[in-house]
């Protein structure tokens, strides 16, 4: 089953983190990514640029208007996205859980184009 793992992060958490701690946490992330790649479960990994560079587009009076900054005003912003293909939701949770040490992790299943007649 294919899932995306959405990693939400508060930039200030990372900006104020001591270097040694940051290295330790990044080490955990990198080890996870390596393991999932080697097991054939990781489909794709993307890190997102700092939220300050975000452009948000909204429709105003029938025309798209672009503003600087993210759509959500939450402190935690989307920082990374994994796409994984695993045997179960339990496995998806197991492999994503270590990321939740500082960040909030959301797991969403991808829709399949296949289907059974009902």
């Amino acid at each position: 089953m294919k899932y995306v793992v959405l990693i939400y992060s508060n930039p200030s958490t990372w900006e104020t983190m001591p270097a040694a701690e940051r290295d330790r946490v990044m080490g955990i992330h990198n080890r996870l990514i390596k393991e999932l790649t080697e097991s054939g479960e990781m489909l794709r990994v993307d890190g997102l640029a700092h939220p300050t560079g975000t452009k948000t587009i909204r429709l105003q009076d029938g025309a798209p208007v672009v503003t600087d900054g993210p759509f959500s005003e939450a402190k935690e912003q989307l920082a990374g996205v994994w796409a994984i293909d695993v045997d179960s939701i339990e496995r998806a949770i197991e492999v994503s859980a270590p990321v939740a040490e500082y960040d909030t992790v959301e797991i969403r299943q991808l829709m399949d184009l296949s289907g059974l007649e009902m």
């Binding site: 089953m1 294919k2 790649t37 080697e38 097991s39 054939g40 479960e41 990781m42 489909l43 794709r44 293909d85 045997d87 299943q109 991808l110 829709m111 399949d112 184009l113 296949s114 289907g115 059974l116 007649e117 009902m118």
Partner: protein, 417 residues
């Protein structure tokens, strides 16, 4: 035969034979499998242009052996080998004699390879990938496309699978007699998973995946030829043929699903139906009954009804009772509920579904709600049916199923108005 399609068919047929010959000569399943894959890729490039070699099987064994010895000597970088795979082969390779092994060993090799690729130490995803490559002769790229994952991911899965086989100490030999039945069950399950991957995707943008159905049936035929007396092997082949017979009728060109009762039965493949019915009839008459045979028998009853109204639901209820006795599971109860509803009325079916509500294995499963919705609709309760369709639509992770369920729910709003 020298069209790319003709060559591909021949290569798939030869793949397990060549691999078996190599393993018996050199051992080392993992390395031999890589070498055979490279030989197949070389042949797929060369044969359509230059014509078939005199002895295609000998050609492949010679080329794969050379790749293997190159690999063992460690004197060739991957890039060089790939370059050579595309280059002309020296003339002597084209006249290579069939190596010393006994030709009659070919068929046993296919079965031995299947047992190895479906080793219980592997995850289902790995069993499937390895079976398709080592026994089916598909390339990593083809398997990756069929499963909608990047090629690098599929390559990792295959090499991980081979490493697991090595760690488990599995050998290239038939499993011992006392393990054989259970190991065969795993092989058949892997084939059925491959079949369903293809079957559920038999239209629209996923057409590539539909090849998996053909491949599963081809491998099913191979096993049936090798084990003609096994009732479950025959049962699985029959089930796949009888299910696949409806392929052209089960979806619209845009990929929307058509329920069995509304399919255009003129589109069903009568040859496959005849073959499947003959297989399952024969198996049931002489082998111990098993779940694939019973499921095939149910599929046969659907396939033999010229119109949906002529379906022998009573017989289907009897068969589901039998199936629940052999292999009880809540999915069978769910299907049984449909059959019971057709015989005793929708309320009887709904009562049976209600017994699943306490079953944790089915909690939150969209199919329970989809069937409940359908039976509520038949029972003349459109409001409750609509609510159930909506729940099912929210729960499914299949886009075509979601579209179908939402359409059913929307249709009921129109009815109420």
């Amino acid at each position: 035969m020298t069209t790319p399609q003709g060559v591909e068919g021949l290569l798939r047929e030869l793949a397990p034979q060549v691999l078996g010959a190599l393993i018996r000569r050199y051992g080392q399943f993992g390395d031999c499998e890589d070498a055979v894959q490279e030989a197949l890729l070389a042949a797929a490039l060369q044969w359509p242009e230059q014509g078939l070699p005199e002895n295609p099987r000998g050609w492949l064994i010679t080329v794969a052996s050379r790749r293997l010895t190159d690999e063992v000597r460690g004197d060739s970088a991957r890039r060089q080998r790939e370059a050579r795979a595309a280059a002309l082969l020296p003339p002597e390779a084209l006249h290579a004699l069939s190596p010393d092994e006994d030709r009659s060993a070919d068929q046993d090799d296919t079965l031995t390879l299947l047992f190895l690729c479906c080793h219980p130490a592997l995850s289902p995803a790995s069993q499937i990938a390895l079976t398709l490559r080592a026994v089916g002769g598909l390339t990593t790229a083809q398997i990756a496309r069929a499963f909608l994952v990047p090629e690098a991911t599929m390559a990792q899965r295959i090499s991980r699978a081979k490493a697991s086989i090595k760690t488990a100490g599995a050998r290239f030999s038939m499993p011992p007699d006392d393990e054989r039945a259970e190991r065969l069950r795993v092989v058949l399950h892997v084939l059925y998973l491959i079949f369903n991957e293809g079957y559920t995707a038999s239209s629209g943008p996923d057409l590539q995946r539909a090849d998996l159905t053909t491949e599963a049936i081809r491998l099913g035929r191979d096993i049936h030829r090798l084990l003609p007396d096994d009732g479950e092997v025959a049962g699985l082949l029959a089930l796949m043929l009888l299910t696949d017979a409806r392929r052209a009728a089960r979806t619209l060109p845009d990929g929307s699903l058509i329920p069995l009762a509304e399919q255009d039965r003129q589109l069903w493949n009568q040859d496959q139906i005849r073959e499947g019915v003959a297989l399952v009839t024969d198996a049931l008459s002489r082998a111990p009954v098993g779940p694939y045979q019973v499921q095939a028998a149910i599929a046969a009853i659907h396939d033999e009804a010229a119109r949906a109204e002529e379906t022998d639901w009573r017989q289907i209820v009897v068969l589901y009772d039998m199936l629940a006795g052999i292999a009880p599971n809540p999915m069978i109860t769910l299907n049984q509920a449909v059959a019971v509803a057709m015989v005793d009325g929708p309320r009887a079916g709904l009562d049976l579904i209600a017994t699943l509500d306490a079953d944790e294995r089915m909690a939150g499963h969209h199919r329970v709600e989809a069937v409940r919705a359908h039976l509520l609709e038949l029972a003349g309760d459109p409001a409750a049916a609509r609510a159930s369709y909506r729940i099912a639509a929210r729960r499914t992770t299949s886009l075509p199923e979601q579209r179908y369920l939402e359409a059913r729910a929307a249709r009921l709003i129109d009815v109420e108005r």
